[in-house]
Every structure is written in C-alpha cells, then in structure tokens.
Amino acid sequence: MRRTLQEKLAILADAAKYDASCASSGTTRRDSRDGGLGSAGGSGICHAYTPDGRCISLLKILMTNFCIYDCAYCINRVSSGVERARFSPEEVVTLTLEFYRRNYIEGLFLSSGIIRSPDDTMEDMVRIARTLRRDHGFKGYIHLKTIPEASQDLIDAAGLYADRLSVNIELPRDSSTRALAPQKKPETIRAAMAAVRLKRQESSEKSHSGKRAARFAPAGQSTQMIVGADAANDRDILTTATRLYTGYKLNRVYYSAFSPIPDASVALPLVKPPLMREHRLYQADWLLRFYGFDVDEITSTAPSGDLDLDVDPKLAWAIANRGLFPIDINRADRNTLLRVPGFGTRTVSRILTARRSGALRYGDLIRIGARMGVAKPFVTVPDWSPGALTDRDDLRARFATPPKQLSLF
C-alpha cells in the first residue's frame, strides 16, 4: 500500500520530534533580492509553538524512519514495531519550499534513520540539500544531521549546502553509548565532530593565493545528549559538554530529557521525562559558556554531583560560597558581577554602562532589570546592605519552592 504525503509526514514528523535543536540563527546573511527564494542570517524566528512549549522554526523531519541500528532509547530502532515510511527526495524538497512560501518555517532540519549503509543515507540527504540550493535557489536555513560513519567526501559536500551540521553524542558516557546503542561508536562520533571542526577551520582561513574557501557549515555544529536514560550524574553530563565545546568548538550542546516513546525497549525505564533536570542543565551550560564558571564549581555544591533542582545553579553556588558575598555593585568588575544570582549578562552590561553616570542605588538596579528579589542578599549599594541576611541559615529555603506532599497516585 502506498502512503499519501500526509500519512508520511505524520509518521516522519512524529519520528523527528526527539531532536531538540531548532536554532535557525547565526548563519551568513543572504536574501532573495538577487534571485532565488528565502533569506537567512540574523536572529532565528520561531514560527509557531506546540503545547510542549517548544518552538517550530524548521521543518524537522526524518527522510526515513527505517533504520538498521538498534539504539534502545530511539523510537526508530530496528527492533521497534513503529510504522515506517520514507519520503522521496522530491517530496522533502516540495514540502520545504511550499511551507517556506507560506511563512510557516525558516528552513529544513533533515535527519534520517540509517538505511542500507551510512554512506547511502548521507548521500540521499546531501542530494536533498543540493537540490534545494542549486535547483531552487533556496536561501533559507538548512540543518543536516550528519551520520558519523559516512565518508569524509559526503560530509564535505553536506557542509557546503547546509548552514549547520550536527552529530549526536547521544549519551554522556561512552559506556552508556556502547550499552544502549551497540552499533554506534563513541570514538567515531567524536572523530566526525573533529572532522567538521577541522573543515570549518580550513574554510575560514585564506589559502596561499589569498582566496577564501567556500563557507563550510557557517552556522557551526551542534549535538544532543540524552539526559536520564543512563545513570550519569550532572557532573558527568557537564564534563562531557565542556569537552565537546572545547574540543570541537560546538555552538550548542542540547540536553534532551529522555521521554517515553511508543513501543519502548525493555532496556529502559519509562518514567516521566526529567524536565526540571534538563532545565537546570541548560542553566548550568549557560554559566559555563557565558559566565566564566567551570564544571567543578557548579557541581560541587552537592556531593552527589547532581544539580539542585529547587534553586538555579548560580544561586546554589552563591549560597554555598556566601563568604564571597555581599558584593559592592559600584566597585566590582564584570566577572564578579556575572557571579551574582539574579544578574544576567545584559544586566551586568547595563550596570557597567550606568556606573559611568554615577553610583548606582537600589532603585537603579530595579530599573535596569536586575532581579533584586534574588540578588538582594548578595549585593551592597549605598542605600542597601543585606546585613545578616547573607548568612542566614534559611537562605536556601527562602528561594526553594516549598516541599509538596507526594501524590499517592
């Protein structure tokens, strides 16, 4: 029985939803005034939101959900009884262009189950991206999932057409990846990321003749880590993330709370997805990248190596290191201000700008947009000093949500 386009779309969108990435920002600036269709560059646009609170920015689909691998956490593993379908390259191209023209999406995020061989699959994906770019002059955003085992030539070609490439690291520990995804090799996944980094580095350098190579994946590369499917604690997860950021210059590591899938494997517990944990990991990730924290500082607040779920990681760190506070807002440097709970990077920049016009007072901080409810025990300004508040025993309790009685059902 042949499936209609609508039926295929239902199956292959359903299969793609466990990929968290939706970014469409930060690529080269281009538009269609000199021909073709579409524009990109600048900040991304989220065209719709589903009731899971996630945005729809790209048409996120699988080329096919047939797969020869058997990854326990994945809905599309070979041993799952899920319905299977496969788009033809033309169908993907048409869907992308027609959705784009109606302003539903910013572009395409194409992933795929592995059929026949990694090279065959990657080749089909590259063909779709090439058709969009070459035959239709498509200038929107394209994100291609890279298959780690695919040959270097195909990855090179993918980077020429795609804005972003991604390889999923899958699980924070090699041992978990080997256990739950027996056909995937952590070292091959890392080598694929390294190859993308190398290629991007090359394309940004001028050759001897002064010519610049064609841009390679201008929006960089990202990856995704599944949280809660193995026993790794938050320290393991953030340590792995740091290695990925430093080693392969990733733009983003996405953390995806392991969420129940239809027809689950016996190997994995079906629990409620740990959404709060995922949220805390993202907060910690930001602290690592933009606030000058390192993994040990963030994860040493609890002996378990997990983040505090009740208060955000910066606040947890500040409570554990009260000796460093309160901080004089009118004297502290940027790096110190960034460590104050309730201050974001933008708040800190505003504080530094505002200080040029004179000393800041409590009301100024509120106007600037600082969350003083949180920051108050940690700062001093001429008309505010926290006094004993900083050292109170119940400081954490003031911020944590009150304990809830467990549900009996």
Partner: protein, 495 residues
C-alpha cells in the same frame, strides 16, 4: 500650546521635522501636544515654528533608531517622551546612554515592545496562495499587529519572498509587493483568502511534531500569546492535541514491549563486529584494534586513537609523548606546532624514511575556558599504552628508536631519571633493542633565546646521529629549502 498631528504612515519624518523645528526655538516639551491624527479639530493649537532658530541641535544616530522604532508604539505619549528625551539631550549628553535613567528606560521598554511586535509579525504572518495569471505566484495574508509596524516590518518579507507577489493586509494599512516593488496603501476591508491545500499538511506537521509527554502550556502561551491565535491556522488543533496528550502518554506506559519485527535480527547479525583477534598481525589490523582501545580511561575524553604514521619498514622509529590538540582532531601524529618543528628538523638532518608515533596514543587534557590544555600522561597510562608501542616496534622492526622527551624515554626504557644527563646516549629498551634519547620538540618551543637554540641544535645533532646509526641518511642532501606550510597539514586528507 503647539500642536502636531502625526499621520498613520510616514510618521517618523513628520516627527523628526517638527522636533527639529521646536528644538531650534528651545520649545520645552510641556508646550507641545503630539497626537496621532484621526481626530482633527478636537484640539487645535499652533503649528511648529518655521525653520531657523537660535539653537544648534544635536542628536545621536542610535537615538534616531530608537525614535523610528518607538514612534511605531501605539502608546499615546510615545512621541512626547521622545521629544522630552531629545530636549534633555541638548544639555545632558549622558542621560540617553544611561540604562538606569528613568526616561531612557521607558523608551527602551517601548522600543522592545515594538521590536517584539515586529518579530512576531515576521513569525506569525501566514500566507495563502491566490490564483495568478502571470508567471509569478501570488499570496495573501491578514495580520493584526499591536503597533504601527507595517512599514517597518514588511521589507523583511520583500527580501525573503522576492520571487512571488504578495499582499499583507492589516487593520491600519496594506502592504503590496508586486514585481519587486513594495507599496503601502490605506486600510481596506479584510480580504477573503481562498483555502490553501498546504495548510492541511502544515496542520499534520504541527500536531505530529508535538511531544505529549512534555506538556508545557505556559511556555507556549508566553511565546505565542492568545491574541495571535485567531489568525494562526494551526492553533485550531491545540484543544484536540491537549485532550489526547494524557491518554497517549498513558498508552505508552501501559504498552508492553512488542516482539521485534523479523527483519531486526537479520539486520543486526549482519552489522555485528567481529571481536579483536588476540594479536594483530599487520599494521592495518593493529591500527584498527588500537582505535577501539580501552586499556586506560583517556579514550573517554580524547577524540580518537592517534596511531603512528610513516614508512612501516623504516630503520628509524621516532617516538614522541602523546598527541596534542591538533593531532587529536586530525587523527594523525605530529601535525601540530611541535610536529611541524620535528618535520623540519628531520628534513634538515637529511634523514630518509621514518616511522613516527607516540608513547601514549590518546590526548590527555584539561578544559580551560575555550581551550584544551595539555597534561602529561601518568605512569599507568604510559604503561598501559606500552602494549601498543611494543606491538608497533615488532611490526616496524626499526634498527634504532629515537625517544623524544621524558614520557617516551620512560615508556621505552622504564627509567624516569632526568633527561638532561641521558640525552644523545644510547640505552637499551625494556625488551632489548637500541633507544636513543633526545628532547621533545615541544620542549624547544617552550624555551626561548639561547636555551631554545641550544636545545634545537642538540635535537638536530641527535637526529643526524640517529639517522647515521640507523643507516637511513638520505644519499644526497639536496632537499629544497623549507617553505612555510604552517597549515599545510590541514589540506591533506586524514590517512
């Protein structure tokens, strides 16, 4: 009292023109009544004075940008606040840039609201295809922005959808893009747009990309506020999606794992990897086996095993410490700065074929900031990796091994006495065989001045001696002068 009535479109130029005329005459803000037109005659005041007044007017480029944006805000006092800020700017230059200043902050908030409205318009306009006679396809949309942003927000669509004709109608005006020209027209009645077949597909996509196990309605509502829903086709599906969500998740929990389809076993059998045989017999097998090595924990953090490279039957084998950042990424030994120095010195020493490798085959590092900082391998790691080094030596069968640096010296001789006294000497490897010791090229790179050039000439001398001893000095020393190939290695394919 002065009175300025701003039009519905082109209001920025009118505001700027009037503001300039007031300022040159020092007209204070509270003597001007700005209004948004429409109610002509309800209030009448004097028009702004003609040009030529006593004062010079200063304004910053960024303020003009703010003004263009804030004027789109429908809040009645937006033009007045802008004038107040500009008036004050003539005497107080700092206040505009001060984020803690109440007036600047107010303007920033207005500007942000307008920017958000523009952004939401870019996101939430939904085109439907209209019949077309010509070669260009035609599309139409209806959108209800909060602010007067039609002229600010629509050039975006002109850049994005240049190859089609389109119309975006709003309650305050209509933007038309035809054959490459964008034009604005007074508001018209809401157009009737025909059904569009792609909308059903879009609905299918919307309801299937949603994960029922992660409901987070508050996030959805704050990013896609209810006020926009009436013009978004997909939002009609949300009630049904919510109604089904709980039962879908319950069904997933209740479902027992099913029997795997028959093809699964067949496919997986085909994919299974044969176990590593006890002792690899060829260099290819050895490299392959080493790529899966887990003898120590370094493989968890490093990218890949970096196996040796060169002539597998060379009489001279050069052993370094471990791959660095560059080697780890490229998967090849001696391609980083130290490796390039070594390559240059090998050439200068006139040595022929060599096999280059490392005592430890994985990169050991500590992340700091955005970089990976090299860490020396410890004894255990060197000892674990000796298994591979010994295998490599059995396969290459060199006449002489040149150990560079303390780690390589320890790996080969099992002795970690200081290198200074031992360099240039021949020692015996743990399992027999001659080993010459010398400096690691990265040691030279860390030194400066005389110390660096001395160490460099010592390494060069050792290389010459090793080449002579191994009997692979190149017959004629006619190599071309070295060209700067700092990044040449990047262009070679790995392996």
């Amino acid at each position: 009292m002065y009175h300025v009535s701003l039009p519905q479109r082109g209001f920025f130029d009118v505001w700027r023109d009037n503001a300039r005329r007031f300022l040159v005459h020092h007209v204070p803000p509270d003597e001007i009544f700005w209004d948004r037109g429409g109610d002509e005659g309800l209030f009448t005041g004097t028009a702004a004075p003609e040009m030529d007044g006593p004062a010079d007017v200063t304004v910053t480029r960024s303020f003009l940008k703010t003004a263009a944006s804030v004027l789109c805000h429908t809040q009645a006092n937006a033009p007045a606040l802008l004038y107040e800020a500009l008036y004050r700017h003539q005497t107080d230059r700092r206040a505009l840039e001060n984020p803690a200043d109440p007036l600047s902050r107010k303007l920033a908030r207005l500007r942000k609201a307008v920017a958000r409205d523009v952004h939401k318009m870019h996101a939430f306009v939904r085109f439907r295809e209209l019949p077309s006679d010509g070669p260009r396809r035609r599309f139409g949309a209806w959108f209800e922005p909060d602010h007067l942003i039609l002229e600010t927000a629509t050039p975006f669509f002109a850049r994005r959808f240049a190859d089609m004709d389109w119309t975006i109608a709003t309650p305050t005006g209509v933007a038309c893009f035809e054959a490459g020209d964008l034009s604005f027209h007074p508001p018209a009645e809401r157009p009737k747009l025909p059904e569009d077949t792609s909308e059903a597909l879009w609905g299918t996509y919307f309801s299937n990309i949603f994960n029922p196990a992660r409901l987070h309605l508050q996030a959805m509502r704050s990013e896609m506020p209810l006020k926009y829903w009436k013009n978004l086709p997909e939002t009609r599906l949300i009630p049904d999606m919510l109604a089904d969500a709980e039962s879908r998740v319950a069904a997933m929990h209740a479902a027992m794992p099913t029997q795997a389809p028959a093809r699964a076993e067949r496919i997986l059998n085909r994919l299974s990897v044969p176990e590593i045989s006890a002792l690899p017999r060829t260099m290819g097998d050895a490299r392959d086996a080493a790529s899966r090595c887990r003898r120590c924990t370094l493989c968890e953090a490093a990218t890949q095993t970096v196996w040796g490279e060169g002539d597998a039957s060379a009489p001279l084998m050069i052993v370094g410490e471990q791959p660095g950042d560059n080697e780890d990424i490229a998967g090849r030994p001696f391609v980083g700065p130290a490796g390039q120095l070594l390559t240059r010195l090998i050439k200068d020493a006139g040595i022929g074929a060599v096999w280059k490798t490392n005592a430890v085959k994985h990169f050991k590092f500590r992340p700091r900031g955005k970089r990976r900082i090299h860490q020396s391998p410890d004894r255990n790691e060197i000892e674990q990796c000796r298994w591979w080094l010994d295998l490599e030596r059995r396969l290459v069968k060199p006449k002489l091994v040149l150990a560079l640096g303390a780690s390589a010296a320890y790996a080969l001789t099992g002795t970690d006495l200081p290198l200074r006294a031992r360099r240039g000497e021949i020692e015996t490897a743990l399992d027999g065989g001659a080993v010459m010791l010398s400096w690691h090229p990265s040691h030279i790179l860390r030194l400066s001045g005389n110390a660096a050039s001395r160490a460099r000439s010592e390494l060069l001398a050792d290389l010459r001696a090793a080449g002579a001893m191994a009997g692979n000095a190149e017959p004629s020393n006619t190599h071309t002068p070295h060209r700067n190939t700092r990044l040449g290695y990047l262009r070679n394919p790995p392996f």
